[in-house]
């Protein structure tokens, strides 16, 4: 079965820390996405990638960066964590442009 794995289910960090959220998919998908989910706001796209080494800004990229050195791995980086980045972070992948998204189980990040 298809699998998208996020390295941590819960994470607690301090303001100003550099934070890495890792995501790995085992489906050989070209496309990978990072979203954050906040109550009443749905899912908002942070960054996405359509190929290794390629990345595109989503709707809310400020304060975040990404890395995709290998096809199966897409990392989200918070350069200097702030309290307003406390959220649920969801990684997803898809085979093609408008195909079904496969989601990881999410990382609940708390920045104190």
């Amino acid at each position: 079965d298809v699998k998208v794995t996020q390295s941590s289910r819960y994470l607690v960090k301090r303001t100003g820390e550099k934070v890495f959220l890792e995501c790995v998919q085992d489906m050989d998908h070209e496309n990978m996405f990072w979203y954050r989910q906040d109550p009443g706001l749905g899912l908002r796209l942070i960054y996405f990638s359509y190929d290794v080494k390629m990345k595109e800004k989503g709707d809310i990229p400020e304060g975040y960066s990404v890395s995709r050195e290998k096809k199966e791995r897409f990392s989200l980086i918070l350069e200097s964590a702030s309290t307003n980045q406390t959220s649920m972070y969801l990684c997803a992948s898809s085979l093609d442009w408008d195909e079904k998204l496969f989601f990881g189980s999410g990382t609940q990040l708390s920045v104190l």
């Binding site: 996405f33 979203y35 009443g40 706001l41 749905g42 899912l43 908002r44 796209l45 996405f48 359509y50 595109e56 989503g58 709707d59 969801l90 997803a92 442009w97 408008d98 079904k100 998204l101 989601f103 990881g104 189980s105 999410g106």
Partner: protein, 111 residues
């Protein structure tokens, strides 16, 4: 630019009665449209996808959605709600390489 509006943030239904979740979208071109469901403490799961082959789309667990271009709507329905349908539902539009999610509708099912 594309956008998705889910018209109800919360819907409460009795078990065995119909469910209607409303979604309007705006997009410059003919978009692909989806409904996803998120059960408590579980990952998002695809319910159905509109591909322009037919305006009425059947999904999993008895859900279906009707695409109405003139109304720019993609409402989700189920004839008879089950307790297991209690979850959050997201309407999604794909256009210009990006998936745009609605704010979500929380469904409560009462016995």
């Amino acid at each position: 630019a594309q956008s998705v509006t889910q018209l109800d943030s919360h819907v409460s239904v009795s078990e065995g009665t119909p469910v209607l979740l409303r979604c309007n979208y705006s997009s410059s071109y003919s978009p692909s449209l989806f409904w996803y469901v998120q059960h408590p403490n579980k990952g998002l799961q695809l319910l159905l996808k509109y591909t322009s082959a037919a305006t009425l789309v059947k999904g999993i667990n008895g859900f279906e959605a009707e695409f109405k271009k003139s109304e720019t709507s993609f409402h989700l329905t189920k004839p008879s709600a089950h307790m297991s349908d209690a979850a959050e539902y997201f309407c999604v539009v794909f256009s210009w390489g990006k998936f745009q999610f609605g704010a979500g509708t929380q469904v409560v099912v009462t016995p």
